[in-house]
């Protein structure tokens, strides 16, 4: 059905063939890994910078402001200027801090988000890590970041970061459950954990449309829980500016701080990409039943455009949350998860299993 969509695997396949033709297979694989790594690093940095710029523009729109508009056209170079500033800033050594862990923490956070990024299907055939437990892998890897946050809070030898880190630990461990269960809902629907398999199962309609109300509930739970999991407002208790000054990264400066900052934005992208892939069909175009003409027009839009449109829609919603809602208190945060979201998503899974058993979904 989606044969008309351009498949990036023909491009990657030809590169692979070209490399294999003039070097040994082992060397070719090594070269490919290096190329992918480099491309990813560059993409990661540019995406981070763009997301920071986007957030500043979105919050400016919400707050009746203009946002950055001086450096470059429409302020596009503002975040690059900020990055240069952060690179040149002094890395302040903390007395009596655990130096090894203090330096290690930002890297753990950033590596976790980098690993999760590998499993994101950007377009048809443009998918680095595609294996049968894709959803499981993303969940496992993205929760590694909390280790870095805990280490950052502990090794700073300071009181505000410690409180922030403990909050973050409690928060992420709790909300991981809801994120997992809401993703499980779609895994039950599609019968596979592989991200490409989930996308293929949405060729005739996205799960949010054909999954009835349970899929919609799962999507809402996923949005709330994933916002909490990436420590963004209204769940940004770990860095709660007005309470803990900056939470777990209070003592960090310069580029080490920028690592946390970057990882936070990339995590937002990963969560949005995962939501778009699982609930909104990833790179799959919008199709309606047997409207052949309409479906063909939709197929002309490249798959990479579909993916980024959906992802940035979810990113916008997450930003919208942050700039509209006040912050929750820690006990309310945990109450929301353990007393509402978790029971709802557990019940939802049962409901979906029942639906699938009775073949009541499309």
């Amino acid at each position: 059905m989606s044969s008309k969509i351009y498949d990036f695997s023909s491009l990657t396949g030809s590169i692979d063939a070209a490399l294999n033709s003039w070097m040994s297979p082992g060397l070719a694989v090594l070269t490919e890994l290096v190329i992918i790594g480099l491309v990813f690093l560059i993409f990661y940095a540019l995406l981070g910078l763009f997301l920071v710029y986007l957030e500043r523009k979105v919050c400016a729109v919400i707050q009746n402001r203009v946002g950055p508009n001086r450096v470059g056209k429409w302020g596009l170079l503002q975040t690059i200027a900020d990055l240069i500033k952060l690179l040149m800033k002094e890395l302040i050594p903390i007395r009596k801090a655990d130096h090894l862990l203090f330096v290690l923490a930002p890297f753990i956070v950033i590596i976790a988000s980098f690993m999760a990024m590998g499993a994101v299907p950007f377009a048809k055939g443009l998918h680095v890590l595609d294996f049968n437990i894709g959803v499981f892998y993303v969940m496992a890897v993205s929760s590694l970041g909390v280790v870095g946050i805990l280490i950052a809070g502990w090794s700073s030898n300071s009181k505000y970061p410690l409180i922030g880190a403990m909050r973050s630990g409690a928060q992420i461990v709790s909300y991981e459950l809801s994120v997992g269960l809401s993703l499980m809902a779609i895994v039950v629907f599609s019968g596979t954990m592989s991200l490409s398999g989930i996308i293929e199962s949405q060729a005739d309609g996205w799960w949010i449309f054909k999954g009835h109300i349970p899929a919609f509930i799962a999507f809402i739970v996923f949005l709330i829980a994933s916002t909490a999991e990436i420590n963004r407002g209204p769940f940004d208790l770990a860095e709660a500016e007005s309470e803990l000054t900056a939470g777990f990264h209070t003592e960090y400066s310069g580029i080490k701080f920028a690592f946390f900052f970057l990882a936070e934005y990339i995590n937002m992208f990963i969560v949005a990409a995962l939501g778009a892939t699982v609930f909104l069909g990833g790179w799959m175009p919008f199709h309606i039943g047997n409207w052949e003409g309409f479906n063909q027009v939709m197929d002309y839009i490249p798959s990479i455009v579909w993916f980024f449109t959906k992802t940035f829609f979810i990113i916008y919603v997450i930003m919208w949350f942050k700039w509209t809602f006040p912050r929750l208190r820690i006990d309310q945060l945990l109450t929301l998860e353990w007393k509402f979201l978790l029971p709802i998503s557990m019940f939802n899974i049962l409901l979906i299993a029942f639906l699938v058993l009775m073949h009541w979904h499309f």
Partner: protein, 375 residues
């Protein structure tokens, strides 16, 4: 006072987990330091430490003439600068037995209320920030800018205007003053409901403020809490009603009282006061009598020997000015009873036992201005 109203002296223990909130902290709104003892997330006790911005204003007053003192009072509660000025002017006028013209009284009252509006708007901004609602800050500042523009046009300065002078005003208001004030009131009547839409009705906001930081009426009296913070605990303490000054006896307005005594009640009192302030301005703005902008005063003011006392209602509560004069051109002793000083020390009673986030919400709802505490 009896023990059940005021708690025992705080006893520090060695194993207490103490964090210092401030003097540089985003939510203390200035250089105030809370020594907070935590048990996990729960606040065990907190001790406010003041004095980081102490400038000795009361002592400086003893070396200054009364016209100069006006400028010092701006720097106490800088968000109610005009109301502070008025308190000193009223003391001097009473001591010199000068009757200020009606026009001055009307204009002073309108400016008082505009000042109160601007102050409450900024409080609303900062309160939203404290709770993590960052957009609230820009909504409030957007509207406050209109008031500051009116001030700027008439006095040339936006925050610390020192427009009052013993006997009247520095000069007459700008010809546009009436027109622009009326325009602002029409504008703000449309914009104030937006505040409710953005924050008041929000479920997260209500969860954060309802039932948090309960202050009983007795406690408010025991600690000398005044202003909107006390009126949230059903304590009628509005000086504008108790001892009307300026043109307050000529206008109809309600004293907003709430019985709940929690953070949300204090929030609602201030929101209600914004509506009342607009009502007061509307009643006065069209009826400003013609006349002089100041009474005849001698260039060198020497108060007759004696003691003088006057109080006004600032945006945060009762400001009382007490002057002892020995007949010279400078006061012998000057004492300010500032509202924030009393409002601050009830913090431990309200915040102990709550969470850190509650502490931030409570200190926001008391609307503290630190230079007014330290003076």
């Amino acid at each position: 006072m009896s023990e059940e109203i005021i708690k025992d002296v705080i006893v520090r223990e060695n194993e207490d987990y103490i964090i210092n909130m401030g003097p540089q902290h985003p939510s203390t709104h200035g250089v105030l330091r809370f020594e907070v003892c935590l048990k996990g997330e729960t606040v065990k006790y907190l001790i406010p430490h003041i004095g980081y911005i102490h400038r000795g204003i009361e002592k400086m007053c003893e070396a200054d003439t009364y016209q100069q003192i006006i400028h010092l009072t701006d720097r106490m509660d800088y968000l109610s600068a005009h109301i502070n000025n008025e308190a000193v002017c009223m003391v001097v006028e009473e001591a010199m037995q000068v009757e200020v013209p009606e026009r001055v009284k009307y204009i002073r009252t309108i400016l008082d209320e505009l000042n109160r509006l601007a102050s409450h708007q900024l409080w609303w901004c900062a309160f939203g920030m404290d709770l993590g609602a960052l957009t609230a800050f820009f909504y409030g500042l957007r509207d406050r800018e209109h008031i500051l523009d009116i001030f700027e046009e008439s006095f040339g300065s936006r925050l610390l205007h020192s427009f009052n002078t013993p006997g009247g005003l520095m000069h007459d208001v700008h010809p546009n003053f009436q027109k622009r004030t009326k325009e602002f009131i029409t504008y703000f009547r449309k914009k104030l409901p937006e505040y409710d839409q953005l924050l008041t009705g929000n479920i997260i906001f209500q969860e954060r403020v309802k039932g948090v930081g309960y202050m009983s009426r007795e406690k408010a009296i025991a600690y000398g809490v005044t202003g909107p913070s006390a009126r949230g605990s059903n304590l009628a303490c509005d000086i504008r009603k108790i001892a009307p000054y300026g043109a307050y006896d000529k206008v109809q307005f309600n004293e907003i009282l709430m019985t709940e005594g929690d953070t949300f009640a204090r929030y609602q009192v201030r929101m209600g006061e914004m509506w009342e302030s607009m009502k007061i301005i509307e009643q006065l703005i069209d009826n400003i009598p013609e006349g002089d902008f100041t009474a005849k005063m001698k260039p060198i003011i020497k108060l007759p020997a004696g003691e003088y006392f006057k109080r006004v209602e600032t945006a945060r509560g009762e400001l009382a000015v007490y002057v002892v004069s020995d007949g010279n051109k400078t006061p012998y002793r000057m004492k300010f009873r500032s509202p924030n000083f009393s409002n601050l020390f009830v913090m431990n009673e309200l915040a102990a036992g709550g969470k850190i986030a509650d502490l931030v919400a409570i200190s926001g709802s008391l609307d503290l201005v630190i230079p007014d505490i330290d003076r």
